[in-house]
Amino acid sequence: MEALLNVYQQQRKWMNAILGIAIVTVFWMFANWQVNSELFFVGPWRVVTYTYGLFASGEILDDLRISGIEFFWGYGVAAVAGIGFGMVFGISRIFREFFDPWLSAIYATPSVALAPLIIIWFGVDLTAKIVIVLITAVVPIVLNTYTGVLSVGKEFQTLANSFCVPQRQILYKILIPGSLPYIVTGLRLGISRGIVGVVVGEYFGAYAGLGYQLFKGLDTFNMPLMMSCAAMLAGTGVIFNQVILVIERRMAPWRDTQLQE
């Protein structure tokens, strides 16, 4: 008994994490048992087997590919453009003062609301969906990069000046590394927004994609399909988030603490 307690004390972080997941799973199973209708609710095990079935039969692969393309292009362009514009806003005083009111407006604007307009402008094909992902994902990236650049203290610029660092080197010697934690936060926040963008984009006349399948599930009252799609979308968010965190830890070993977003 004492030995068991000891093990728990030493590994309590992990054990508690596992315990937490177990509690949620049991609760979920209990709810499923209570509801007991696949029209309304599905247990965790059923979600796993259903998802496996989708992969095994290969019917989901095309949807994954389409949604993947939309996400990668949209998010990729959002990352590059977002960091670029954020830097410019942060560095140039004129730009900053000129666009600052718009940046706070953009922060507060529900950018997915623009999705239907994008559809009207770009049609229902892939481009429109990529643009929707782009506009939803780019907002936190721009804003966080911008905040990051501003957060790099003026004293570091003075330092660079005093050692005669050429103006254009200040960008990559001071501003980019100094704002990196914020940029990473922006990139992380952009992921889940981009995924919402994928789903909303596919609402407007798609023929494939995870979002499309989600709607199909809603129209056909196929609860397992909906839960499975939602789980896959959520899982994608978690995985990409972790990937970014790992890259950050590699690239930025000087950071001892995580920034709160």
């Binding site: 003062e97 000129f98 989600l214």
Partner: protein, 276 residues
Amino acid sequence: MSKIQDVPLEETQDSSFVASVKTVYNRHRIGINFCLSVVLALLTWEFIDFVFDDPDFFTGPVAVALEFGVLIYEPRFWENINYSGTELIYGFGLAMILGVVIGAAVAFSRTLDEMFSPILVGLYATPRSVAAPLFIIWLGLGIASKVGVITLASVFPVIINTQAGIKNVQGEFRMLGRAFNISFWAMLTKIIVPGSLPFLIAGLRLGYSRSVVTIMVAELFGAEAGIGYMIDHATQTFHVAEMMVGISLLTIMGIAGNEILKGVERWATPYRKTLV
């Protein structure tokens, strides 16, 4: 760091005309640039409309304002606003309450923290509004399902920030409280609440912006009324001006709430500079 600017005296005492214009501009540059920026954006917007000249494709600010003038006489329009407003108030209100309670719970209890923080952090990274169709099946097409999705979408930033805020003060200032031997109640009211307030408000602002986004997403998946519903309906009928009115309404909701929260932040934490 400091707000103090390094302006040599001579520059400000120069009395030539150009210099005095410059001085006026410098003194009010933020306001002037703001106005210029708004005017320029509206003009650009109108100009693009002028170039396309196709009301089924693009409408300028004037057309949107006119459309707005027409819509305000329709009871349906006010119903939509009322519907979305109700969703927002209930959804975000619930998220606020749940967020603070859960956040405080995981901040104060180490066991709860270790059990549920990994799950909370994981869920924070997920696109939670995609659960909207599930809620429609569970709670129907009415307001309840929207409130559910909005709460789900916006509760996590509140939880995570509340937790971070409380932990932040606990680490730094609990020793101070202990050293002065203050009661638990004093600890709570004098140290924990004021110390974690800036984090909490930052979390509320993040959560609020999620709420407004989620109005749109949730209503897309099926609704009886609402601004998102109105935008969706206008899209099906290619009524661009009405869409833009809807989008503007959501934007106004977003900006208004954000400004209110910023105001609360300034009022509650006057010693801090505003967080973005």
